[in-house]
């Protein structure tokens, strides 16, 4: 035997698998053999499973044949073969038919098999049972559930858990047994040991039982409270995972009912010093998470000790604990960095941790706790090691520095120095450089003082930049910002250099940038030079460059000749389109095409955004992103909200704070406009001016959940009520909302109501009420009432019973009011103080708020009520101070006139005193806004 063939032989045994067909044939012949060769069969099963794990699959008939022959192996009583058979059954059940035929063999094993295979048999039930047969396992599962053997009990619990979606009724009957299983501490019997290892019970069946018990009782608040009472005392739970499950249960309950939190405080305090790190961690997660949303309900000692717990976790040797604690601290640092300043020494020592994930987290967290004082020293620390970390980490650090620069605009010099240093000296790929450039663009856009210096350095950078995309972006930025600087000719030189030296893509970008300098006000002499430069470019070998140059020349000429505003607009564009709505409009234009594109696309229907609007949106998005935090390029979702619940939750939350995902709101407003325009009567109102955020008008757990949206038109107002029917057995018909003005003399005239014909259980639909405005700005409250006819549902057809006349009913919902904020859109201004002083009409009002709310909650409410954009980072009230000033800026949705507000808040023992000072171009709007704040 040569070495070559020997090696091949070895490979067929271990490394390379034989091909799929060979394995299939081998299996089919060997499994049908009699007597069964257990060793050979297990080897073949193992090969088969390896094949499946590689992602291979079999056609259904072959899989079924395999499944059938494997189930023949049940005749052989070898436990070791049996375990392999169960693995194969579980894997194959997904792709083969008639898996039910194995059920009786499995059930026989559950009754008479050895303790070793019983758990395997029980767990394989998940794979073979379906909706119609699940009940047949009831008796077996029930007795296995209370079995003294921990593995058997766990297997039964997990299987019941897995079967829940298809056999809820059956599993519900196990509630008592499950309860018993939580309390029962099961250990392994010491006789009949099969292997060489001594199993050591971790009492993990408690965890499985508790998880199942929660699913069975999740809608019963009292039962859950009882569970916590029962199992939190006397060390009833031995298993660590079960304890964590209990912590999560508390978390679930307090999220559902915030008021419960105070009852749990002592318990949470105790858990924070639990002997298990994981329990400490989970509790700290709960406390800090809850405090982020309802800081008023959490005692400061509890938060402090949660932070101390996290702090001590930072120094443990285990990487996962450190990592987890850092993740939580990082999350806190985004909302209330001042709380975790105490951890700074630990964080600083972690900067040099060998684990890069940890050191990066530590740095980003530190950067967020940074204050105006220590930024410089922090940045010098980073500068030391940024050059020797990988690109991914560099990007994270740059992102953190970037948000830092927006928070401390006065520190721009340090930040700018740092960014320029990494840009020029740092080695890195496209993504990294692009990020640095983006950070610089941010500086240019949001911090006026930094503009010229940043631009000059970007000019230097493009002299030797290897990435086309970045070059084009910088050229665009130079064209946009350059003409308004003090020395525009400097930039012209740099841009023209690109025209001489670079490829056609960059040349064409440079042409556009150059043309913008022709109309600059700061240096009129520049215009002629630009024209002569462009003339020269007009002979460029590339046609795109030539075309652009020629067009630019034409525009400049006509702009100069007769001050033609049209061509001026083309050169210095002042607005851009809302891309989301442009995209959806274009795609609907293409798909609904009926006359082979003879009607041109109507571009006026797309929302236009001015520069200010874009900046406002950008800043908001950044604030939102900052709040949610991004690490490793993936969106770190806020804890406590699983993905699936994210969407509705977000909509519900959209009124609580500025943490809304603005992008989704953009999409929403486009969606609203489309839905409204689909209604004939509304079409006559003209274009939609503004839509408010969603306002909940009922408790979220009410029978009928109603949420309102206010739509504003030039002369009309439309209220949209989104109604969800949460009843399971009743349909609503003829649903409408009546709105009665609270004041007798209303300046709104009701025009029409559009009702919902039929609302089936758990369906959502919208009804509309439209009004005509007699004055431009109307502020009024309406008492709203839901009117409908209920009809019982026939469970078989899911339709109401024929001939059922139903009951007329009505349902009170909260009143809906139009306030000044509905007339305002948020807007951005770089220099708030100057803008504020420049506005003509002033209005001052003083309020005294008796309600017991925190400053932060009040600030959130103000931001939402006024729909203005908080500037200079004033949307976060410091939790350690009793006073705060909020600066808000917005624009009238109707006319675009500017509004600015300075609101000073002082918290005393009697409540919160608030002094609002508003200035606006429109006197009526200003006084309405200021006086209607609360």
């Amino acid at each position: 035997m040569s070495t070559h063939t020997y090696k091949k032989f070895e490979n067929s045994e271990a490394g390379e698998l034989p091909d799929k067909m060979t394995i299939y044939q081998d299996c089919m012949s060997e499994f049908n053999e009699s007597p069964i060769n257990a060793k050979r069969c297990r080897l073949l099963i193992s090969r088969l499973l390896r094949l499946l794990a590689q992602g291979e699959t079999f056609p259904e008939n072959e899989a079924t044949a395999l499944f059938f022959s494997i189930s023949k192996l049940f005749q052989h009583q070898n436990d070791s073969l049996r375990q392999a058979v169960y693995l194969a059954i579980k894997e194959l059940s997904g792709i083969s038919q008639d898996v039910l035929m194995a059920t009786s063999s499995i059930m026989k094993d559950i009754q008479n098999g050895s303790d070793l295979v019983k758990p395997n048999a029980i767990r394989s039930l998940t794979a073979v049972l379906d909706e119609s047969t699940a009940f047949s396992a009831e008796r077996l599962l029930k007795s296995a559930l209370v079995n003294k053997h921990p593995s058997i009990s766990s297997a039964a619990l997990c299987t019941s858990y897995n079967l829940l979606p298809i056999a809820e009724v059956t599993v519900k009957r196990f509630a008592n047994e499950t309860q018993e299983a939580v309390a029962d501490l099961k250990s392994f019997p010491h006789r009949n040991l099969v292997g060489d290892y001594y199993p050591n019970s971790t009492f993990i069946s408690q965890y499985h039982a508790l998880g199942l018990l929660y699913q069975l009782k999740k809608n019963d608040k009292m039962a859950l409270l009882k569970l916590i009472r029962q199992f939190s005392s006397n060390n009833a739970l031995k298993n660590q995972l079960a304890k964590i499950e209990l912590v999560k249960l508390v978390s679930e309950l307090v999220t559902r009912d915030n008021q419960l939190f105070s009852d749990f405080q002592p318990l949470l305090m105790e858990w924070l010093s639990n002997k298990y790190e994981s329990v400490q961690l989970e509790t700290a997660k709960l406390v800090t998470n809850f405090a982020a949303h309802h800081s008023r309900l959490v005692s400061s000692e509890l938060i402090a000790s949660a932070i101390t717990t996290l702090q001590s976790l930072l120094t443990v040797p285990r990487v996962s604990a450190k990592f987890a604690a850092l993740r939580i601290l990082n999350r806190i640092s985004m909302v209330s960095p001042e709380r975790i300043v105490v951890c700074n020494p630990e964080l600083e020592s972690l900067i040099n941790d060998p684990n890069r994930n940890i050191s990066t987290y530590a740095i980003t967290t530190l950067l967020k706790t940074g204050t105006a004082k220590n930024i410089a020293s922090l940045i010098s620390t980073i500068t030391k090691f940024i050059h020797d970390v990988s690109d991914d980490f560099k990007i994270i650090i740059i992102d953190a520095v970037r948000s830092l620069s927006l928070n401390f605009p006065n520190e721009w010099k340090t930040v700018l120095q740092f960014l320029i240093d990494v840009l020029k000296n740092g080695e890195g790929g496209f993504k990294f450089k692009n990020n640095v450039v983006e950070a610089l663009i941010d500086l240019v856009t949001f911090i006026p003082q930094a503009k010229e210096m940043a631009l000059e350095n970007l000019c230097d950078f493009i002299e030797d930049c290897e990435f086309n995309e970045i070059l084009v972006r910088i050229l665009h930025l130079l064209g946009k910002e350059g003409p308004s600087t003090s020395n525009p000719s400097l930039y012209v030189r740099h841009i023209y250099n690109r025209v001489v030296l670079e490829n056609s893509i960059i040349r064409s970008a440079a042409v556009i940038a150059l043309s913008k300098f022709a109309l600059t006000k700061n240096d009129p002499s520049l215009s002629d030079s630009i024209v002569s430069l462009l003339r020269r470019i007009a002979n460029d070998p590339d046609d795109e460059v030539r075309d652009r140059a020629t067009i630019a020349l034409k525009f400049i000429e006509s702009a100069k000749r007769d001050q033609d505003t049209e061509s001026r607009k083309f050169i210095l564009s002042t607005y851009s389109f809302d891309f989301a709505s442009l995209e959806s409009k274009l795609s609907s234009y293409i798909s609904s095409n009926t006359d082979s594109f003879k009607t041109p696309f109507d571009v006026t229907s797309v929302r236009r955004l001015s520069d200010g609007d874009i900046k406002a949106l950008d800043l908001k998005r950044k604030q939102g992103k900052f709040l949610k935090g991004t690490l490793e390029g993936s969106a770190e979702s806020t804890p406590g909200i699983a993905e699936e619940e994210m969407l509705p939750e977000r909509l519900d939350n959209s009124y609580v704070g500025p943490s809304v995902d603005e992008h989704e709101l953009d999409m929403l407003s486009t969606k609203y406009a489309e839905e409204l325009m689909a209604i004939d009567q509304v079409k006559d109102f003209g274009a939609l001016v503004n839509s408010s955020k969603i306002v909940p008008l009922t408790e979220p757990e009410a029978e009928f959940v109603v949420r309102g949206v206010k739509h504003l038109f030039k002369d009309n107002v439309v209220f949209q009520f989104n109604i969800t029917n949460t009843l399971t057995d009743t349909a609503l018909e003829g649903v409408s909302v009546t709105c009665t003005p609270e004041l007798e003399a209303s300046s709104l005239q009701e025009l029409f109501t559009i009702s919902i014909d039929q609302l089936l259980p758990s369906a959502e639909a919208a009804c509309y009420v439209a009004f005509k405005k007699t004055e431009e700005i109307v502020m009024e409250s309406f008492l709203a009432n839901l009117m409908f006819t209920t009809k019982e549902i026939n469970p078989e057809t899911n339709e109401p019973f024929a001939g059922d006349e139903g009951f007329q009913d009505e349902y009170d919902i909260d009143s809906i009011s139009l306030n000044a904020g509905d007339y305002i859109k948020s807007s951005y201004v770089g220099d708030f103080a100057t803008a504020f002083d420049g506005l003509p009409n002033e209005e001052v009002a003083v309020f005294n708020i008796k309600e017991n709310i925190s400053l932060q909650e009040l600030v959130d409410r103000l931001v939402v009520n006024t729909s203005c954009l908080p500037l200079e980072d004033t949307q976060y009230a410091p939790s350690d101070s009793n006073s705060h000033t909020v600066k808000l800026f917005g624009k009238s949705a109707l006319k675009g006139s500017k509004v600015a507000l300075i609101i000073r808040l002082i918290k005393t023992s009697k409540g919160i005193a608030m002094k609002a000072q508003g200035r606006a171009e429109d006197a009526v709007l200003c006084s309405d806004l200021v006086n209607g704040l609360m």
Binding site: R47, A53, Y198, S320, A321, R327
Partner: protein, 189 residues
Amino acid sequence: MSRLSLYSVQAILILDNTGSRIHAKYYQSPHVAEDKRKGSLQSVKRQKEFEKQLAQKTHKQDSDILIFEDHLVFYKEYMDVTLYLLGSMDENEIVLQQAFSAFKDSLDLILNSGIDKKNIQEHYDMVLLAIDETVDNGIILETDPATIASRVTKPPSNEPQVSLDLDKGLLGAWGFAKSKLQERLQQSM
């Protein structure tokens, strides 16, 4: 799925140092309609892409834990294989760490000569059983490595079972042994 869900493990992977799959098991909550399943890792093609990227990210980076594409990833790199466990972002890190250690340490126990590619491939059946005893459909089943190892059976022994029927007497036994012996001798010749 609420946070209290027991389905906390999303996948267990064993990759070699080029990022090719030795074993991969992605867990989906059973009996949930196909269209309701979420996550981008549904198709095999996407999974393999993901594994390659993951391997690149973890190769020679001794950091044990990281966040990758919305998963918490725990891993341990050996000579020519890397073990991975993926969990959801909201899960308690220490719990997942324990599940991962259970998986890793139980392999250590059952693979006598240490964890490497050849050993895993040769004892693939035992590795699968160990994984199956650690995680069931995404539920952490056991966290004690010895308990897991005690439930993993070795392949049946080589000898075909020789069942002696004592009723036939010693002579019968002798005859049986003789025929067997002859068979063996003939075979070896």
